[in-house]
Symmetry: C2
Amino acid sequence: MSGEDAPAQQQNAEEQKQQQQQQESKTPAESPKTESKPDPPPSSASTEAAAADTPAPAAEKAPEEDTFSYRALVLTGYGGYDKVKLQVKKGKPALKSGEVMVRVKMCGLNFADLMARQGLYDRLPSPPVTPGMECSGIIEAVGEDVTDRKVGDKVLVLNRSGMWQEVVVVATTHTFLMPEGMSFEEAAALPVNYITAYLMLFDFGHLRPNQSVLIHMAAGGVGIAATQLCKTVNDVTVFGTASASKHEVISQGGVTHTIDYRTRDYVEEIRKISPKGEHSHRLDIVLDPLGGSDTHKGYNLLKPMGKLVSYGAANMLAGQKKNLFVVAKTWYQQFSVHTLSLIQGNRSVCGFHLGYLDSETELIAQAMAAVMDLYRQGKIKPRIDSTYHLEQVGDAMRRMQERNNIGKIILTTEPMKEEEKKEEAKKDEEKKKDDKKKDDKKKEDKKKDDAKKEEKKEEKEEAKKDDKKAEEKEEAKKEEN
Amino acid sequence: MSGEDAPAQQQNAEEQKQQQQQQESKTPAESPKTESKPDPPPSSASTEAAAADTPAPAAEKAPEEDTFSYRALVLTGYGGYDKVKLQVKKGKPALKSGEVMVRVKMCGLNFADLMARQGLYDRLPSPPVTPGMECSGIIEAVGEDVTDRKVGDKVLVLNRSGMWQEVVVVATTHTFLMPEGMSFEEAAALPVNYITAYLMLFDFGHLRPNQSVLIHMAAGGVGIAATQLCKTVNDVTVFGTASASKHEVISQGGVTHTIDYRTRDYVEEIRKISPKGEHSHRLDIVLDPLGGSDTHKGYNLLKPMGKLVSYGAANMLAGQKKNLFVVAKTWYQQFSVHTLSLIQGNRSVCGFHLGYLDSETELIAQAMAAVMDLYRQGKIKPRIDSTYHLEQVGDAMRRMQERNNIGKIILTTEPMKEEEKKEEAKKDEEKKKDDKKKDDKKKEDKKKDDAKKEEKKEEKEEAKKDDKKAEEKEEAKKEEN
């Protein structure tokens, strides 16, 4: 789908030029182009090529088939942020019947991409592979039998993988026309988060007026999408967890009760806040991206006819690299439920992951149509947290993993300027040092922890001994009496 | 709620007379009555009293407080059909604020009542207790602060228990006005089956056009209700299991594909029939009243975004009395699911039982309003299988347990005529003999089974020995070479 192994065919420099013009002016290019028109590569294209870490295509006139190349992020193996590398792919991808080629503008970053990098997401093919489930861009070529898309159409794309590159080839059913007035950033931010939130709330959740919803990670991409979708229904109470610094933003976004999960027990907070004081069950819907013990907590907060939707195991992500202990613990604590318990509670437990729905084109198309409608009505609007160049994908992933974002993190295919790159290189050095420090601190903390545990153990044993002594004394007394 | 322990106050014979008139003419009595008007008991009431196995109230004029009595079915202990006995309760139940007294016409029989009799349903208080979750009748008295009901209103009643008697006292929120044109039989048949089917299909199931639904026991009360509700949505495909003799009726009722679960493997049948030939997952919704291994089968038939609603464990009911082995086996095989499996399948598993929703008055009221609306539009209509007198409750339960019904089994409070009773007594003798024969046959079958198993075991051992001999020969050959 992503055309990694496609043979070189031709280069369409005119499209590249058009793309750059758009990046500058942000105005849509309505005039349709044909992809078969050969044209020498203009000098402006060389900046893009130079941005990659492989030689630039010859500035002299050359056969297009040999010179078509594009930058792509490639996961080279499972591990830390540095495992995703920027490479140049050569050769124009072949178009099969029903497929289109899209010149990518922006890509969306998702939690599944972080899981995938650690080898925890089985929907990504084995490395080397280009990650990424969503992007926005302009159609550059259409395959045979494609009647519903034409060259020049602005589209957003949702796909199993392979979206983090400048050129993608996908089935036309995986592309959706961008509504008037939508930016490429918004278009890249929308598919995964809004389709996920939409299907969870309205298909599994059957959200209705006057209901109450718990949204974990309410400042994340799905969190903000879910909050906005809740607000399209009358009088829905949204409980949203996020660290305190994000509360103002998510409150403005529609969260009724913000809860700082770092300093408060959210279960207690919900019980305290909830209007049904006599009940221990407060929620109609719980959206749970965390997994592990949090799923149990959410389940126990459900009202009769309540629905818990589990859609991830973010608790498994404890650091830059896979932490087997944390993965095992999260897996072990993962929620398992017996139908007789569900019957007695009148509850529903659902599992959702868009990555496993990639063949359900009709379902996705329906949900997308509904979401687009809400966008056109101004009822939803993706919130962009930040935009990174492809070169900065490590920083982008770090920001997400450390939960510093409020809204969507975007990657742009726009090339980085030379001066930016130099600054970037400096920062990189600092970050590496910083990471080392963090690692050292972790080790230090672990040592301290171990020492503390040892102390406690000793204390306990001491206490046990005391207890035993007291018991013995008691016994002795009894015997005396 | 059911007024078992209420003190004697007064008897309202006029209401009884009115009730009998209605049973004869089937026309609604619109003129409101007051329950405080004293009146001597008419002679027609004596037949009713005589029907019970306790002395009839005195035919002479007596103070009402002492003479108010009514017949009630009482579960006297857990066990077979004979554990439900017809008794006479004395004393007029007291009315609290917000309560109404209903003179019962018809009662509905449900699977939960069968479970309850065997001690397998924890929502029924301990015996002695009057079972029954639904009835229809006429309001005979209203308590303080009741403004939405008046004496003479025809209502259907949904309650945790206590509905199988001539007089019930319930909170007004548990009563619902009968729509114009609805018979008392229909009104008693509607609450449990239709609210159950409605909430399962539309709240948990989120049923939409073009979807497919599997309905087990499609000729049962919930099965017929669910089929009718499916037909209110465009182009829903209904797979319905029932024994072959019921297929014609359920086909006419709306089942698209009838499956005889006794002679066919329904999983194979669904896979064969289903239009999506390339998929092994065929269903959007599975309604599962069976439990045990059938829940696993249903789960594996679900499409992505599919919902399984487990609403019982009918597989636990293997005979007239509790069969601990079957209960344990069903429990052991009962479905348990891990959220990570749900996530990968994009599936939902729900549990439903109306008996645990009795405090959710708002939820029930909304569902009931929707169901009544569909009734008024002629889109649903309870199908009555048969109507039994209170004296015949054992036969009624047997018919349900042996799955001989197509539609709802109803109990009427109308007294049985003398000649009917004599016939009944004869039949009873025959039935007892029949039950004994069945029990003997079971024992015989078990013996035969055991004998067969023993034979098979021997055959297997023989086969093993043969295998061993063959192996030995092989070994010997090898050594020779």
